[in-house]
């Protein structure tokens, strides 16, 4: 850490907050609020004379509240810069009647109560997000008695107790009577591997994922204990010990060889003996099927990791995505693990998922190397597939800027929209969104797509159906079906777009007007959209189209929606078979009727679903198999709609009654 502070090319801005990030790859402008620390960090020598006279005593956050600090303090001994800081919310202020004692004590006169927050603007070419994680608070799991029983502590608190830099200088004591505990129990998976369900709707009792680090942390703690206090009796209650990394199994075996007892079974109840402060753990040893009682002097809850509270603020600053567990999403889980979907922004460490030191270092090194590659190139290459605004046609409405998942379109009121080519990823969602046809998507222009539709539907249109397939998943899924030699009806005419978000509602309308019996829009699964969230736009547009077709008297089932990944060749073949069945059922009269009706009818501007603000009772109707089921539809839930019966995604939300 000291090296970072001293490095000539690193500007360290501690106690600062990023307020705004503008720009794009190679050209970011970051606005940082340097908060007032009320101590001149260049002058302060960290002598500590100011601490003694400070009358404000607070729990020390770094020591997990196990010791105290003053309102003027250093967050932890190795903190960089090595300078004191005043917590303005705790300090009694510089009113000489109230206090100001630290100022009197400081010989170098470093303390300045008039210091103000400073706004700094810096220009950077790339950004690495390494905002870390928080730990789970086990208070809601009342069966373990954390905060009710003094000697039940978390693994983080244990870490401070056994650390040489901790409040006891590494002498292990238990909180109630500060004696050395002879019998210590560890409970694993506290706050991890717990389903979000009826008894745990908001994750207060834990999160569904494995937190990755807790098993090995406990194994390490047990070995530390055996090293420092060989007589300590240690029991670990676990479901599965996940010792999968290099050398991990070895460490686990060493811990077992040292006599640590690993007992498979999660305790159901912890009781405290009020007289001694000892804890009785009730557990079923699932390997024998027998109930056991264990008495301990101290119990450590091996708590899981949770996303940092501020992750959402960071996500919004940089338009990043989060995975279902709340951690930041990488551009690709296997092939681009430290890239974010936004070019020039990288992620490392526990901001991405819970991980240990080694994995964090690996990821940080990878992210640094990715930045190096980017910044050392004299120019960057951008795919030629980008959007271009026709300034003559642009009506300056700004809808394109709202639709762009990358914030690559700059628009201000009464100004023509401007695409930043370096930031544009080429999904084409803006082009599909523009009501005036003012945005050309290079290589996937409207003219090209209309020409394909014309050609496909010129002869015997009733024999074919149109399938829009996104480049990354659905089209690749069709490829997989082909290379696997899967058999499926050959009636599809596939139009490749970069993203399902490129499919302009007019394309679908046009296809029906030209006599297409069925149209399919397909793209990546929700979690896999290669353009952050552009496929959600496809769903919105299909909703609009279903309503428009219905209003025009055209069977909405003739427009189908499905998600198919590159690996799902089988699924692609199945979709093709199912849609061919639908196509065969469309009569010549129906096709003619649609031809006529859609000449006149207009595509609605918005879906009725747009008016929904809060969860509303609705009927889900599958347009593939006809299955129907009742749900409470949450307009803000970002979840794939899927039919439980036929597993298709052609599911329409029907809201009963007026909106």
């Amino acid at each position: 850490m000291m090296d970072v502070g001293r490095h000539p090319n690193i500007v360290l801005m501690a106690y600062s907050e990023v307020e705004e990030i503008a720009g794009y790859v190679g050209n970011f402008t970051v606005r940082v609020r340097k908060k007032a620390r009320y101590v001149d960090e260049d002058e302060c020598t960290a002598c500590g004379d100011c601490v003694e006279p400070c009358p404000v005593v607070k729990a020390d956050e770094f020591q997990m509240g196990l010791s105290t600090r003053r309102a003027i303090y250093i967050p932890f001994p190795q903190a960089v810069p090595s300078a004191y800081i005043i917590n303005a919310h705790e300090c009694l202020g510089n009113n000489p009647i109230a206090c100001g004692k630290c100022r009197e004590a400081c010989e170098k006169d470093c303390i300045d109560f008039d210091m103000q927050d400073e706004i700094v603007e810096i220009k950077v070419g790339a950004i690495v997000v390494a905002t870390g994680m928080d730990v789970y608070d086990p208070t809601p799991m009342d069966e373990y008695g954390y905060t009710s029983y003094t000697n039940v502590i978390t693994s983080m608190e244990f870490e401070r107790l056994i650390s040489a830099g901790g409040p006891t200088e590494g002498h292990l004591v238990r909180p109630s009577d500060r004696t050395q505990p002879r019998r210590i129990g560890f409970i694993q998976c506290v706050g991890s591997r717990t389903a979000l369900a009826e008894n745990n709707p908001d994750g207060a009792r834990g999160n569904p994922y494995c937190s990755n680090i807790c098993c090995m942390n406990t194994v390490k703690d047990s070995l530390l204990l055996k090293d420092h206090y060989p007589d300590t009796d240690i029991a670990v209650f676990y479901m599965d010990i996940r010792a999968f990394g290099k050398g991990f199994e070895d460490l686990y075996m060493r811990s077992r060889a040292e006599g640590v007892r690993y007992i498979r079974g999660l305790p159901g109840e912890v009781e405290e003996d009020p007289a001694t402060g000892n804890l009785v753990v009730h557990v079923e040893n699932t390997t024998t099927g027998l109930l056991e009682q264990h008495e301990f002097d101290m119990l450590v809850l091996s708590v899981g990791a949770i996303p940092r509270q501020e992750t959402d603020a960071v996500r919004q600053l940089l338009t990043l995505s989060r995975t279902g567990d709340g951690f930041l999403m990488e551009a690709h889980p296997k092939l681009r693990p430290v890239d974010s979907p936004t070019r020039g922004v990288y992620i490392a460490g526990c901001a991405e998922s819970p991980k240990d030191v080694k994995d964090s270092v690996t990821q940080a090194s990878a992210a640094a190397a990715r930045v190096e590659i980017l910044l050392n190139a004299p120019t960057i290459k951008v795919e030629a597939i980008t959007a271009v605004v026709d300034e003559e046609l642009c009506k300056k409405c700004g809808q394109c800027a709202d639709a762009c998942p990358y914030s690559a379109i700059v628009w201000e009121k009464k100004q023509v929209a401007r695409v930043i080519s370096a930031a544009c990823a080429g999904c084409g969602t803006c082009s599909a969104e523009c009501p005036y046809g003012a945005i050309t998507m290079r290589h996937f222009t409207d003219q090209q797509i209309y020409a394909m539709l014309d050609a496909f539907l010129a002869e015997d249109p009733q024999e074919k159906f149109i399938a829009f397939a996104c480049n990354w998943c659905s089209y690749a899924g069709a490829d997989t079906a082909g290379t696997s030699r899967l058999q499926y009806p050959p009636n599809a005419r596939i139009i490749r777009t970069m993203c399902s978000g490129r499919v302009r509602p007019d394309f679908v309308w046009y296809a029906f007007r030209k006599g297409a019996p069925v149209v399919l829009v397909s793209g990546c699964h929700y979690a896999d959209c290669h353009y952050i969230s552009a496929n959600r736009k496809a769903v919105e547009r299909v909703d609009v189209l279903w309503e428009g077709l219905e209003a025009a008297g055209v069977r909405p089932e003739r427009l189908q929606l499905d998600w198919c990944s590159a690996a799902e060749g089988q699924k692609w073949a199945r979709i093709m078979r199912e849609i061919e069945e639908l196509r065969a059922a469309v009569t010549a009269e129906e096709i003619d009727q649609a031809r006529q009706a859609l000449q006149e009818a207009k595509i609605p501007k918005r879906s009725r679903l747009d008016k929904l603000e809060k969860p509303t009772p609705a009927t889900m109707r599958c347009y593939r198999c006809g299955n129907e089921w009742a749900v409470v539809f949450d307009p803000h839930a970002d979840a794939e709609r899927m039919c439980a019966a036929c597993r298709s995604n052609s599911v329409r939300v029907m809201i009963d009654g007026e909106l």
Binding site: N199, E269, V283, E284, G289, L291
Partner: protein, 167 residues
């Protein structure tokens, strides 16, 4: 090991878990990862080692249909919902036990106690006979006397064919 202790897995019914999952209340049985939180929390388990919800679920998942249905242990759950609250996988054990009980009932496997209880219900409209002694005690506490009103309960039992289903 004596031969009786060896279980012949060919007798297992691999569809038993699906049968339970199809029963209202049993839908979540497949979620169980056998952590033991339920059995360690269970107040019944503290009294008798015959009832161990984790073990029952594990046996059911393995397909030990005969053993699960014929032994009386599924009837021991007191439906206190402690495990329901604590289960990390939301298996909903009390409701699961009810689902297994319903399957057992359909096959006529009901412990005698429950049959007796149905008889009591039919006779008295409640699970015990209310006599003068009970009402005198109630009077001591200023509680109104209760009368036996078994007709309606009997009607419900008749409509539901409870005994018939139990046969």
């Amino acid at each position: 090991m004596p031969e009786d202790d060896i279980i012949d897995v060919s007798d297992f019914d691999p569809n038993f878990r699906d049968e339970i999952a199809a029963e209202p209340g049993g839908e979540y049985i497949r979620r169980c990862f056998s952590c033991g939180t339920c059995s360690a929390s269970c107040p019944v388990g503290g009294v008798t080692d015959k009832y161990n919800p984790r073990r029952i679920i594990h046996m059911a998942l393995l397909g030990m249909r005969q053993e699960v249905l014929s032994s009386g242990f599924v009837w021991l759950c007191s439906v206190c919902y402690t495990c329901y609250e604590r289960c990390p996988q939301d298996v909903r054990i009390p409701e699961l036990m009810n689902a297994i009980r319903n399957i057992a009932v359909r096959e006529g496997r009901i412990p005698q106690t429950f049959k007796t209880q149905v008889g009591q219900l039919r006779a008295h409209g409640r699970l015990y006979e209310v006599g003068d002694y009970e009402n005198e005690r109630r009077q001591e506490y200023d509680l109104p006397p209760i009368r036996e009103e078994s007709a309606q309960v009997r009607q419900i039992l008749d409509d539901m064919d409870v005994e018939e289903e139990a046969e």
